[in-house]
Each structure stands twice: as C-alpha cells, then as structure tokens.
C-alpha cells in the first residue's frame, strides 16, 4: 500500500558477510532497489551513496562487522526498507565475491 505522506526511513545495518559488502550483494542491492519507487541511499563513513547506482555502491567498501545506514524516502519506503535490509544482512560467504 502506498503511503500518502512518506517520511525518510532509516535503519542502521551491520554487515555480517565475512567478505564484506562485496560486488555480488551490491548488484543484488541495486536490483532490489530499482524495484521500488522510493529514493534509496546508503550512508557509509559519513558519505551518502545512491542505492540505485552500481557505480556509486562500488565506492562503499564496508567490511564485515561495519555498519551502514540505509535511508529510504518515497511512497513505498517501508517495504523498500524491509527488503533492502535483508539484502544487506546477507551472510553467505560460500560463493566468490
């Protein structure tokens, strides 16, 4: 359901993947983010990156146990926040990065 008066939703997420937030989850994140109308940002080390741009996310070298802030704004922000948090919290390290 669309929220008629969206607010910026934020969630701090700890990276659990031993390989960090590497290229494959980044691609999965962009793909998931593109499914939502909301604006998606990732904040890492004080800088904001467009969550719908692979090129920008490549600049987020967040290692295991580091934290990133997911920031979502738009009509479907709640659903986007929930889905994108799952992608960020992925733990699988069994496949190459």
């Amino acid at each position: 359901m669309e929220d008629p008066s969206p607010k910026i939703l934020k969630r701090v997420v700890k990276i659990k993947n031993p390989n960090g937030f590497h290229m494959r989850p980044k691609a999965a994140f962009v793909e998931a983010a593109m499914r939502f109308a909301s604006d998606v940002k990732l904040i890492w080390e004080g800088q904001a990156f467009n969550g719908k741009s692979m090129f920008e996310l490549m600049l987020v070298a967040a290692a295991e146990d580091s934290e990133v802030t997911l920031e979502v704004f738009g009509s479907d922000s709640l659903l986007a926040l929930q889905e994108l948090e799952k992608v960020l919290a992925e733990e699988d390290a069994s496949i190459p990065s």
């Binding site: 090129f55 600049l59 070298a61 290692a63 190459p96």
Partner: protein, 154 residues
C-alpha cells in the same frame, strides 16, 4: 590505496586483441603470468575461477568499464592489470553497453578488506569520465600507467 599499489605496470595491455569475455580474461591473466605475478599457480585454473565468478553476474559495472576479479588461494598479494579494448567487448554489463576499459584484480582469499578496497579504488578512479577518455586515447602501457597514476593521486 592507489591503483599503482597493485596494478602491474609491465603487464598493462594498451590494445587487447580479444573480442569476447573469455578472451579478455585470458589475455589479461596471461599477461600477469608472463610478468611473474603467479608462482606455482596454473594460470588456466585462475582463468576458470574468474570465469566462474562472471557466471554469478557480470563485473561490467557500466559506462564501458569492467572489473573482473576473484580471490584465489594460490596468490599471496593483491595484483591487478589494466587493459583497453579499442573496439569494445560485449561483457554482459549492467547497462548493456560494450566495455572498453578493463581492470582485472586477483587477491588472496584471506584479505577480504584489501579486496573491497581495491574494487573501491578502481571504481573511484574510473568514475572520472575525462580519465576514461584519456585512457582510451593512450597507445602505450607507460602512457596508461602515467595517466592512471596521475588521477589516482588526486
């Protein structure tokens, strides 16, 4: 981290001959191998590992750039090589466009942070459109290294 910390100058290829994904990966890895970057390692095995990684999703990140990579058990330090394809190669990039600038990275399996930083460094440097244009205009490995290094320092 700077690109010059891990890009092997003598392995840089200013004009790739390959016209497909496997060919580009092979050409870049064989160049690293010729330049003594892998000891007691079967280059065919690394080629397979990089191709296997590509099957999980193309490392073509768009805007004519690809960063094929893998972590490999037989290497003890991060190494990379830059290669330019004058005519572009279909690499299955996210934006569907051909790739002209390749940076292939091989890193040790036990250094995930170094690996992440290397990918970040390459992406940060190659975000600069004038640099990418300048790289594509270079005709020698030395020119490519100097251009890359100049921007890498900024």
């Amino acid at each position: 981290m700077r690109m010059s910390d891990f890009i092997v100058r003598s392995a840089i290829i200013p004009e790739l001959n390959a016209t497909d994904k496997e060919g580009v990966i092979r050409e870049l890895l064989e160049s690293l191998c010729r330049n003594g970057c892998f000891k007691d390692v079967d280059v065919e095995d690394i080629i397979k590992a990089v191709l296997k990684r590509e099957l999980l999703g193309s490392t073509g990140i768009g805007e004519g750039i690809a960063i094929p990579h893998t972590k490999y058990i037989g290497v003890d330090k991060l190494v990379g090589v830059l290669g330019i394809s004058p005519s572009g190669v279909n690499f299955g990039s996210r934006d569907g466009e051909p790739v002209f600038v390749f940076v292939l990275i091989i890193s040790p399996v036990d250094q995930p942070v170094v690996h992440l930083r290397a990918l970040e460094t390459v992406s940060r440097v190659l975000r600069d459109d004038p640099l990418v244009k300048a790289l594509r205009a270079c005709t020698t490995a030395d020119q490519l290294f100097e251009q890359m290094n100049q921007y890498s320092k900024m």
